[in-house]
Symmetry: C2
Subunit: 246 residues, 2 copies
């Protein structure tokens, strides 16, 4: 890391040391990846499933299941375990039967095999020259580490809600990440496609970069409404984000 | 990661998924690095210091200070903070005076700027093709992340005693690392130059690889006695370790 990253400069007016990235939707295209792997599954198994709808339903279960942990009606569990609880219901809903335990486990771990948006790997590699680049995701550590190997994501550090036994947007996650990175909150910039994640980061004193991903929920789908002026930086993708700084 | 890494094969008879590396002495040459940076300091400042002795005394304070945390006579603190406690005593002992707070802080962070043994970067890059390669060090997260950027160490994951608020050889560190990596203990192999670290890892059910570093304490110095037959693998360096598996 160049010394220049550690103090305000014309290219880094925020004196940011580390960038903390949301992952699902911001770095990787979960919906497209599940559809692609699902279609291969259909090709092999012959069962007809609307994998776009399946992916949407799986993701729709994500926030409610984390909220059950956040509110204490479920004990702490890894996202892999929450994904599995949702999957077990979806297999009934989509009438997918006859899977072995091993096949269910493999399907559940599709979240370890998500592919990045086209700009993500090159953008991270450029940003890594100036900043510590870390995940800050609700995905568990092993999910994020395996995804990074699968997708070639060049993280300096893998930080997860799992380390704090709190899910985003609980403040423990953002403040805990800054502490582990040896930074003041204002020296960390949260990068996300989701305004609610950025709003929580900002409330903890982190800097914020909004990178909208209009295709996250599929073509023609609505995104959560955003007010880009609320965030320190808005960039179309990670390459433009790198251009902002480098 | 190739599927083959996840089950016993002729080249990976232990079915190991992840390698967890001790860092100080095993991956990086702390003594040589401190001497090198100290000699530059002498060149700039003109003060005469025996930096080999200084490094040895700093390192000699390491285990006793961690033991005070392990036994509860000090609260949890990061290794950066323990290093600073030791350094403040050493500055008196070596009659180094007149340093600003910023200069003391910079000197203390020399542990973030250690250089790897000659085989380390290439060996890790080769091992990374087959395994998850992670640190498992008593160094704090920010120390290890900055060292990795400084030295070009291609970790998949940075795991530290800091995540568990226990220092090695406390068993919480080894078992906590396996849990975060999503592995059974026997699926993780600890790699270290220090038999006591490996003995503790083995007692937790981890596999063990002994990589002696005879120059760790300087030329002609004794190493802790080792019985290589106690460990699953013994290799002269990380390249030979990679040859064992790949």
């Amino acid at each position: 890391m160049r010394e220049s990253a550690w103090m305000p400069t014309p290219s880094n007016p925020f004196a940011v040391k580390a960038l903390a990235f949301d992952v699902f939707g911001t770095v990787v295209d979960w919906r497209g990846s599940i559809i692609r792997e699902g279609n291969q599954w259909t090709h092999t198994k012959g069962s007809q499933v609307d994998w776009g709808k399946f992916a949407d339903r799986w993701r729709a279960g994500y926030v409610p299941s984390m909220n059950r942990v956040r509110q204490g009606s479920l004990p702490w569990m890894k996202l892999d375990q929450l994904h599995r609880l949702i999957l077990d219901d979806l297999l009934v809903e989509f009438k997918i039967t006859g899977l072995s335990e091993q096949e269910k486990d493999h399907l559940n771990l599709v979240w370890h095999r998500l592919t990045p948006w086209p700009d993500a790997v090159n953008g991270l590699a450029r940003l890594k020259k100036e900043f510590v680049v870390s995940t800050l995701s609700n995905g568990n550590i092993s999910l994020l580490v395996e995804m990074a190997k699968f997708a070639g994501l060049p993280w300096d550090m893998v930080l997860s809600a799992e380390l704090f036994h709190h899910y985003k947007p609980d403040h423990e996650v953002y403040l805990g990440a800054a502490e582990l990175l040896g930074c003041q909150p204002a020296e960390v910039m949260m990068v996300a496609a989701h305004p609610n994640d950025l709003n929580a980061a900002r409330a903890c004193g982190l800097r914020t970069a909004f990178v909208p991903r209009p295709l996250e929920n599929g073509p023609g789908q609505q995104q959560a409404p955003a007010t880009p002026e609320s965030f320190d930086v808005t960039a179309r993708d990670f390459l433009v984000l790198a251009d902002t700084f480098l």
